[in-house]
Amino acid sequence: MKLSSIISKDCTKAAVLFNSKKRVLEYISELAHEQLPDLNPHDILNALMTREKLGSTGIGKGIAIPHGRIEGISHVTAMLLVNKQGVPFDAIDNRPVDIFLALIVPDGDNEQHLKTLAAIAEKLNNKEFCKQLRNAGNDEELYAIIASAD
């Protein structure tokens, strides 16, 4: 799966500046609502918060994959945010997080969800790729990095 097939250009945000987990998740909900206008941003935020309560999606090395499962949507919507500084996110290695790859996924399709996660993991497991993401100066550059990595 190509990352550019699930992350659209207006869902890549470079050098944003949020200072809390809550603000990051709120912003992700707003972005997701723009892509999925039929969904209420509060419901999206709820789905993300519910998932975080089960355990942080901060998976270490400054990376988090906040995600929420929502019924009634047909496809995965992904968003990539790179924050200028690390945000406390209760990550498993206790490190602050600056790369957020957020997902809104249809409820139920477990196999497809694992495929999506693997596609994301493949890219984010590459240190050089993460370095490029962190160095992106604007949204266009950030999107170009994703597109060229596919």
């Binding site: 090395k61 694992l114 693997a118 993991a121």
Partner: protein
């Protein structure tokens, strides 16, 4: 010491992000190199990203290999976690 065993992924969601995080957090507690194998892929047990790359869905078998002073304890704990379906509700 080195020990290994094979376990069946039984939980509905497979080795998804939360399960992988729980496994990685457990793995770092042991003084052992922990590696998971599935088909031709392998992953360091400490790395969530590597574990996600295994794409282990329900019904897959994973081989867990532990090497180091805590190998036996690590294998037992990880085996139990997988057998207990990562303590998930469904």
């Amino acid at each position: 010491m080195r020990c290994e065993d094979t376990f069946l992924i039984q939980n509905k969601c497979g080795l998804h992000a939360r399960a992988a995080s729980v496994l990685a957090q457990l793995a770092v507690k042991f003084d052992a190199q922990i590696t998971l194998y599935q088909d031709d892929k392998s992953a360091d047990g400490n790395s969530v990203l590597a574990l996600l790359l295994l794409e282990s869905s329900q019904g897959k078998e994973v081989k867990v290999v532990c090497d180091g002073p805590d190998a036996q304890g690590a294998l037992q704990a990880i085996g139990e976690l997988i057998d207990q379906k990562f303590y998930e509700q469904e």
